[in-house]
């Protein structure tokens, strides 16, 4: 489903990714582990189109997504979404939760009229186990776990083929983490989607993921457990 071929990236003469190759099949959870700052987040940013690779190519469902010569295809790349580590970081601090969801739905024309929009929002809130009164709140008025679920809801509305979790649960307590990861699994896998789970917690990645890769000191990716 997603193929990364020989990706390289360096910042100011510091190599961050060296010849990274990875295949993510549909319906699987792939873990990427490694120490902080080793390059895990950079890989995620390249997949989302935030940074461009210095070398290498990435294919999504056989079509070229980005390479050193061609720019990131934003429309094709909409099928890749990411949940960040900081729960509040991805929410506009001056925008109410409901307004943010409606903006996404209307921008991508996911529904035909207002009734369908409200029903879609009610459905996604129910799936994320969020109360409907959260729609009128600002990000600073909701808890960290709720904020992460809102971020997840926004990603899921776009029906992504790949969901990247970049240390998405390291700021949450154990029960919230368990709930969030169970939600992700239940939402992504049945539709053939996949999850790229980035974490420095080896016990967590070993338990949650089907295959685990790790970065070594040379910033190369190696499979450590299948």
């Amino acid at each position: 489903m997603l193929e990364i071929k020989n990706c390289c990236k360096s910042f100011e003469n510091q190599t961050v990714l060296q010849d990274v190759s990875l295949t993510i099949p549909g319906g699987s959870i792939i873990g990427v582990s490694g120490a902080s700052g080793i390059g895990k987040s950079t890989l995620a940013k390249i997949l989302c189109g935030v940074t461009a690779p210095d070398a290498g190519e990435i294919f999504l469902d056989g079509q070229l997504l980005v390479s050193e010569k061609s720019n990131y295809d934003r429309r094709w790349g909409l099928a890749i979404q990411m949940v960040y580590q900081q729960p509040y970081a991805t929410l506009d601090p001056s925008q109410k939760i409901g307004a943010g969801l409606r903006e996404l739905i209307s921008y991508h024309r996911l529904t035909k009229n207002k009734q369908e929009t409200e029903k879609l929002i009610a459905d996604i809130l129910a799936q994320m186990q969020l109360p409907s009164k959260i729609l009128a709140h600002l990000p600073r008025q909701i808890s960290g776990g709720e904020a992460q679920r809102v971020a997840l809801a926004r990603c899921l509305l776009l029906s992504p083929k790949l969901l990247i979790l970049d240390e998405a649960t390291s700021m949450l307590d154990v029960s919230t983490q368990a709930n969030l990861l169970a939600l992700v699994k239940a939402q992504m896998l049945p539709n053939g989607g996949s999850v790229l789970f980035i974490s420095h917690d080896r016990a967590l990645t070993d338990f949650y993921c089907d295959t685990v890769y790790a970065f070594d000191e040379d910033h190369r990716l190696k499979e450590v457990r299948a």
Partner: protein, 270 residues
């Protein structure tokens, strides 16, 4: 805690209300008309609260009618300043040559001696109110532009802008729906203080005789008083009254901006 914070707002709004009333309904304060002739240089009395001037017009009436003109020039030039400043500030935050061009423009204008350039240009371009508004705005936008540019650059470093790109929003959409609303607190506080600075600039220019002489503002009144010998006649009220009014109007806007900044500092839901 709440009550203490409201005091500046109430005071400021009351003052502003008084001046707004004078601007929109001057008949409320004075029954004379602006051009009604009386004896020249009458002293302060009950019929003429501030006496009459060199032409025989009632000074208090001139003051009340001058409110409209002062407020008009001050507020309109402040709005224009805001639009110019926000626009150039945002353009100055772009990457590439556009950003460098407009940032360079900001840096040049920072170094310009505003008042002197304004005086020269006002003399050159003539003295109608419209010219004044445009000129004042043309030199006041710099502070707003720098504040806006700094805030936009800071917003760009925050992950939520990055995640907007990942969600597929175009840059234009992000600018309008996510950057502009987060600029509102910067813009509002700059606007309120900007009114003060625009009123002061207008008063200075009018005092120097560069204002609209047919529709006198408070600054123009001080110019008249000075030029036509209020000092010699001992009619100090002619000089002081417009100055006090400028001070009170600026105080009104300042108090409102005080309340606004105090409000931002309190934490809400805890």
């Amino acid at each position: 805690m709440r009550k203490k914070g409201l005091l500046p707002l109430i005071l400021g709004l009351l003052l502003l209300l008084m001046f707004a009333l004078a601007a929109f309904a001057p008949e409320f304060f004075t029954s004379y008309s602006q051009k009604e002739l009386f004896t020249k240089w009458l002293p302060i009395s009950r019929e003429h609260l501030l006496g009459t001037n060199a032409m025989g017009y009632d000074i208090f009436t001139e003051l009340v009618y001058g409110t409209r003109q002062t407020l008009l020039v001050g507020v309109l030039s402040s709005i224009l300043t805001l639009i110019l400043g926000a626009g150039i500030g945002i353009l100055g935050s772009f990457r590439g040559w556009i950003g460098q061009l407009f940032n360079g423009l900001i840096q040049i204008f920072v170094l310009l001696p505003k008042l002197i350039t304004l005086i020269v240009l006002a003399t050159f371009f003539g003295s109608s109110a419209v010219h004044l508004i445009v000129l004042i705005a043309a030199f006041s936008w710099v502070g707003t532009a720098r504040a806006v540019r700094a805030k936009v650059l800071q917003l760009h470093t925050q992950p939520f802008i990055e995640s907007c790109r990942i969600l597929g929003y175009s840059r234009a959409h992000i600018a309008v729906r996510h950057i502009l609303p987060n600029l509102s607190d910067v813009l509002l506080s700059r606007f309120l203080l900007g009114v003060n600075s625009c009123i002061m600039m207008e008063s200075t220019l009018s005092f120097l005789g560069l204002g609209d002489l047919y529709r006198p503002t408070w600054g123009t009144m001080v110019n008249f008083a000075y030029k036509r010998g209020a000092f010699l006649r001992g009619a100090y009220q002619y000089l002081l009254a417009p100055g006090v009014c400028v001070m009170l109007l600026c105080l009104a806007f300042y108090l409102i901006s005080l309340w606004l900044t105090a409000r931002k500092e309190t934490i809400s839901e805890g």
